[in-house]
Symmetry: D2
Subunit: 346 residues, 4 copies
Amino acid sequence: MKNIAIIGAGGFTGQELIRILASRPDVRLRKITSNEYAGKTLLEIFPALAVGEIKHLVFENHPENSESLKSMDFVFLATPDNVSMYWANALHGTGVKVIDISGAFRLKDKAVWEKFYGMEHTAFPLMDSAIYGLTEKYREQIKNASLIANPGCYPSSVLLPFYFLRDFLELFEESIIIDSKSGTSGAGGRKEKDSLGYSTVYENFRAYRIEAHQHQPEMEQEINNLSGSRFKVRFTPHLLPVFRGIYTVAYMKPKSLPAVDMSKIKNTVKAYLDKEPFVRFYDNPNDLQLKNVQNTNFADFSLHLDVHAGVFILLSVVDNLRKGAAGSAVQNMNIMMGAPETMGLL
Amino acid sequence: MKNIAIIGAGGFTGQELIRILASRPDVRLRKITSNEYAGKTLLEIFPALAVGEIKHLVFENHPENSESLKSMDFVFLATPDNVSMYWANALHGTGVKVIDISGAFRLKDKAVWEKFYGMEHTAFPLMDSAIYGLTEKYREQIKNASLIANPGCYPSSVLLPFYFLRDFLELFEESIIIDSKSGTSGAGGRKEKDSLGYSTVYENFRAYRIEAHQHQPEMEQEINNLSGSRFKVRFTPHLLPVFRGIYTVAYMKPKSLPAVDMSKIKNTVKAYLDKEPFVRFYDNPNDLQLKNVQNTNFADFSLHLDVHAGVFILLSVVDNLRKGAAGSAVQNMNIMMGAPETMGLL
Amino acid sequence: MKNIAIIGAGGFTGQELIRILASRPDVRLRKITSNEYAGKTLLEIFPALAVGEIKHLVFENHPENSESLKSMDFVFLATPDNVSMYWANALHGTGVKVIDISGAFRLKDKAVWEKFYGMEHTAFPLMDSAIYGLTEKYREQIKNASLIANPGCYPSSVLLPFYFLRDFLELFEESIIIDSKSGTSGAGGRKEKDSLGYSTVYENFRAYRIEAHQHQPEMEQEINNLSGSRFKVRFTPHLLPVFRGIYTVAYMKPKSLPAVDMSKIKNTVKAYLDKEPFVRFYDNPNDLQLKNVQNTNFADFSLHLDVHAGVFILLSVVDNLRKGAAGSAVQNMNIMMGAPETMGLL
Amino acid sequence: MKNIAIIGAGGFTGQELIRILASRPDVRLRKITSNEYAGKTLLEIFPALAVGEIKHLVFENHPENSESLKSMDFVFLATPDNVSMYWANALHGTGVKVIDISGAFRLKDKAVWEKFYGMEHTAFPLMDSAIYGLTEKYREQIKNASLIANPGCYPSSVLLPFYFLRDFLELFEESIIIDSKSGTSGAGGRKEKDSLGYSTVYENFRAYRIEAHQHQPEMEQEINNLSGSRFKVRFTPHLLPVFRGIYTVAYMKPKSLPAVDMSKIKNTVKAYLDKEPFVRFYDNPNDLQLKNVQNTNFADFSLHLDVHAGVFILLSVVDNLRKGAAGSAVQNMNIMMGAPETMGLL
């Protein structure tokens, strides 16, 4: 029986972690913290999640120090970047395994991190030991990791397909265009709160932060260690009037159109996916839709070559709160604790 | 006082035409036809449109021949492509001005038309006299036209900005990527009816018909007569869970990055737009959103250069039922009848 | 040409007033105030409303005193209750006609007002001269009024049908049950702002403030001056996941079922409505829906007698921002300035 | 290991049954039938449900006779009323336990059934052995039942609270007003398919079938065996622009206001609920909302007495696909097979 704490359990990702973990027999949710909801029970705050004994669990204030967390096996950080830095540091060396769902430990280049996150990185030495939690790519390293930097939601939708396309990346020119659309639960943090009112989002659609988004260097970093090529990622995120789900279309220009053998690419991808429980390939790109992955840990993708215009197209969907956040975080926990990787996720 | 008939007045475009024309003092809606609603009044079928005397107007069956239409000054065809072919032919030479909102007369190449529309074109000789109704580009020809091929909704969102960018198209490589997202009123015709149920569309998002969409050659045709370059358009349409509005992002690769002088481009565009009542340029691309144009005849756009990835980006929004269909149709009618171009549209 | 100011032009009601008044030739919007948007143009803040010359109108801070308002013919107060009290007082005796869309002057009983609005009424002497702006009922008094207390949105949906049922109210027992459902633009003021986020409203539905809502005494006051009976109103408001529209179902128990002659009631209602431009009666209650009145000044209603359970049912719909606020405010202005009552509203 | 078949597995209720049953270790989904999807796998039709081995399950055509169903332990009928009659008859006496989610066996009065369902009842002799599947009320009879008539979605939202209020029903007059609002997944069957398009439902709200709905006699039948009183139910259903959830408000008039002791009523209700896993009481009626029960088997309710108007109010919410259909069906199956009642539902 593993003991688990969730710091920042009041947000969308925290709720999703609770939903996934609530009914597992092999882990126990010991501590959920939220300064906003401190003193209230799960039943009072999230009645739809209040199943079984867990409904009497009481939200606590964030702890003052790491003392009360040392008896945990896993601490999930569903916190802002600066808060995650603090806790990762505080728990370092205690033997408690930390799964950070913020962006604090995702970029290996300190200058790039500080530029895109707009603050100083106060725990950068930990970056060396942080394993990027793209499970399908880093399974082996995750097994013994003490600090997981869980991938961002947009990068999850991009990097999973790219990982299975790795053998073919040399075929394309260096500019990769990523056009992503996200539900409101993924697109907004505190900073965008004012723009997420019902009357602003409903019956609307818009791109946002197209000049600079911190998920752009994250994608670029991870794509660029897949092959010998150096890609430049153009990233355009949009806000969909839905609650959950990310739909990504990536466009790449083949260096040589005849060299792109779609049949070979698809067969290779399918062979790679044979043993993957959560990543699915669709032959028909028109079959991809948010509904197919919402509330699941699946990542679906498809490929298409536009011979007329000379453009290679990748379409992909994930649930930003599941495979793009809490789902993959639990998948990583499963690996770290030696449980079946799909436990609680199917 | 101009007499007006709308053939196919029961669909979304027909309704929008009624909404725009209902309260004008200088035109009179004489005939609205719909086999589905024949015998019912406007008040019974569309209570929200039933203002003033027009509410007693009775839907008629589509006429058997053109006899009853000959007293009209304008006939709007809000009909499927094959039906539009029939009526354009039947009214040819009668002096009645026809504004066709279907795709029947938009492509100058018969083989391309028949390939993308999947049928024989039975009225192709009329194509010579059909004027493509992109008002801002073809104002002069529209004045005396007898048959207008009103632009498609997606092409409207693309071609208006491109027209004002025409001086700079030589700067870019030949592949243009168009990633468009449309509300349900624009994305679906009869053929997709089954996929437009509430439970399919709500909280969902998907691309559709990415292999071939008839608006792709329409865009390509009109972009390719703007400059000496020959562009290839890659077009990816998506279905948004909203009712009206199209959001388009176009990506182009500069032949030489330093040659793209954004300041000069923006100034040129702004100068062109100085006298345009409906096309608006935004300096900040993050300001573009569907809400800014819904229920209006505006077409908004913005530009951004991603220096890092070497990609030029155009963002644009229109209301698919207004500037993308009924609004521009009325704008064209205004020009043809010598009324102020903005009459009924501001 | 009448000069008009809107105090509080940045909210939903203010926007709707601008939308309705923008293109009228007989009035001119001289001043729009909003502390939030001061210094910005209409084009910058509400691009969809920025039609014609009005787009260059600049939002001002709320004025410090009434001096700059004295040249106005009409001042609309789209402000919170306490702000409306201030301005109604400040403009009293200046000859400027005031149309107040807040609740400040709707209740004739000071104690009831102060109980339901939770504050002291600092301008109660003006209540004597305030005319309740339910146009169809108070047309004559409105003509020469200097201060209009425009009805609340929920009461509009209830009182219009009740006014046309006034000859039959004696048939019913004293308890009237009003079960209303409103879009978010009507249900929320500043106080409920936190509960109107997209993730809270979408795919949700709930009643709110069922113990006490200030529209309950407003309905009761106006129903009780229609007949000799003294009714007690039970009011249950709900929040719909839509932007605009109110759907009300009222239930009444007949004192004697046989005495309720539905045919006679309907004929009387229809006769009354014969000359009403905005109130419409539907024979089939299943035909009532929000879509029929959204973005219009119509108020639709229908009646049904459940013989089995002995319950009389009234169903009604209005657009809370039009007939329930800005639309009826302009209808009242039309009467006060001698313009056709439907001017700008059809 | 129990063997299970779902006849009519392609609809919303069928999907929900699959979702609930998919990962249970003690039951096996052996057969799912759907003439529409025959030959396709679960993975192809409902990718979000395609977890584990079940994803390869192939939809079959409805069987020609009961032969292939005789090896089943349970057959769920998620079929239209007339189809359910056929299968209940065909499986009668085979030992296979049938859980019918249609309305075929819910009314004990043949004439009333035929009037409200508009067809002849061809299997009425089975009605005697059919147990109405309101679990909390009929637990004992359900244990050994061979045919369960699972309650309708609206009745579930009404009858659960009424069952726990049974000691106090004598306090009220005979007319009960039920004002219910349902998401589209519950309100529509095949017959209303045309009215459930996205453009009809979104941003809309309406009552429907207010003259006669087959759930009205179902509620009346079950309320009237709770006490000595004979109640008459007035039922008004509405269509919400959400996918799942039912919100019901019931209004009753106390015979004597002072006799209604809210404190005593609430305490009695709470005591009854002490051991109920799925029915929850809220002290504050404003806390009730669809979000609290969506995707769960909970039924939440609250009570309020309006002393001013003399009206007793009951508010209740259920998920129409869970506690209102598939959830309670599985709850009943659990009881019939001797499994913990909450198995798979928490």
